[in-house]
Structures are given as structure tokens and as C-alpha cells.
Subunit: 124 residues, 2 copies
């Protein structure tokens, strides 16, 4: 195992690993219920803005720019804790949501489950 890999997996240094598009994956959980609220991507700018402000920022792949969650709706996500995975290319953000996280108005973007090939509403 290379030294860089060892340091990333075992060390205490935060060495976020962005992919070839400059992105890593962020999974947002509700800090109280641990429900998964949304999944999005961060580039270095979005990660920096999140850590500096304490509110979740992402990189919009469709718009190709920094996106503060809730900048339009007011439904910001206050970050309580950040978990980092083994190879440091994915983060879990435990957040307090100010309102519905999904743009559809649902509490979570994951409002359907797959049931024998058909999507069914999730009660949550």
C-alpha cells in the first residue's frame, strides 16, 4: 500500500480526494433522525464554503457553479458534523434542515422506494 493511501486511510490529516472532475460525494443526513435527506457533489470551492460558513454548499453539475443549498428557498442546511470515509472521496454531513430539503417540497429527496420494479411512496 502506498504511503499516500496509508495516510489517507489511517491518518488524522484531512486530504479530501476529488475525482477527475474535481468532485467528491456528499450525503446529507438529518442530524436528529439520521434520515438520508439528499446526495450531492462538492468541489473544493463548495467544501471550503461549507466548512467556513457552517451551511451546506454544493457544486451544481447541471449549472456548473457553486450552489448554496437554500439560497433561493431559504431551506438551508446547518452542518452539525462531517464524517469522512476511508479514501476521503465521500463525506457524510449531519445537518439541521431549516425546511424541506427536496425541491419538490418533500422532507427528503428519497421519498420513493423500488418495489418489484415500481416506485412506491415512502411514509416518513
Amino acid at each position: 500500500m502506498s504511503d499516500a493511501k496509508t495516510m489517507r486511510e489511517s491518518g488524522s490529516e484531512f486530504m479530501p480526494k476529488f475525482d477527475d472532475k474535481g468532485l467528491l460525494t456528499a450525503v446529507v443526513l438529518d442530524a436528529d433522525s439520521s434520515q438520508v435527506l439528499m446526495v450531492a457533489f462538492m468541489d473544493e470551492e463548495a467544501l471550503g464554503a461549507t466548512l467556513e460558513s457552517g451551511e451546506a454548499h454544493f457544486h451544481s453539475r447541471s449549472r456548473g457553479k457553486l450552489w448554496k443549498k437554500g439560497e433561493t428557498s431559504g431551506n438551508v442546511l446547518t452542518v452539525e458534523e462531517v464524517l469522512v470515509d476511508c479514501d476521503q472521496d465521500a463525506l457524510v454531513l449531519k445537518c439541521r434542515p431549516k425546511g424541506p430539503t427536496c425541491h419538490t417540497g418533500a422532507r427528503s429527496c428519497f421519498y420513493r422506494r423500488l418495489d418489484e420494479g415500481i416506485l412506491q411512496p415512502v411514509n416518513s
Copy 2:
């Protein structure tokens, strides 16, 4: 809003949306504790193999091929439920892990939290 977008967000049809590399994001949760165990990517082949077998398969970005989780270690993930997000480009897999999910031997890949710029072990 386009019809395709409406159908994806509101419909009961499973229309997984793969990105320009043919991938979508999969977040694995422990079906009992709801702890986030790992985050990985699926292409159409991995999604099909997962749904057919009931055991989690991913697409290894580094190796560029289908990867059955646990194919070497035996630590397979049996999928109990699949949640789908609003635009169908991310899945949550609620799984029963047969052993530690992380290749480091940790129960979850998210075994560290970021504390003022430094990674600290998570007790879980």
C-alpha cells in the same frame, strides 16, 4: 418543467438517470441501525446485477469494471430495500452486511469525523 422531468420526479416508473460516465451514486445504509456504511457508484450493469441477485454490486471506477461487494472478502451486502431520489440519479440501499463493510476492517467506511480540520475516530 419538461414531461421527462415530471415523470422522473412524480411517476411510479423507475427511470434511473446515469451521468455522462454512465454512473449513479449508491449510498449503503445498515438496514438495522441506519448507519451509513459506504458510498459507491453503479452503472447499468451493476444496478441490474444488484436487483437480480439481491446482493450489492457496484462499478469500480479505479478498475473500470463490475465489482460485487464481498467477492473477495466474503463480506457481501444483502439488499433489503432500495430508495430512489427525486431525479433518480441516486439510490439508498438498506442492506444487511455479512461482515465489516470497509476494506480496513471497520464496520463503516465513515470511521472518522472532521473536527476543526483534524480527523478524529468516531465511536460506533
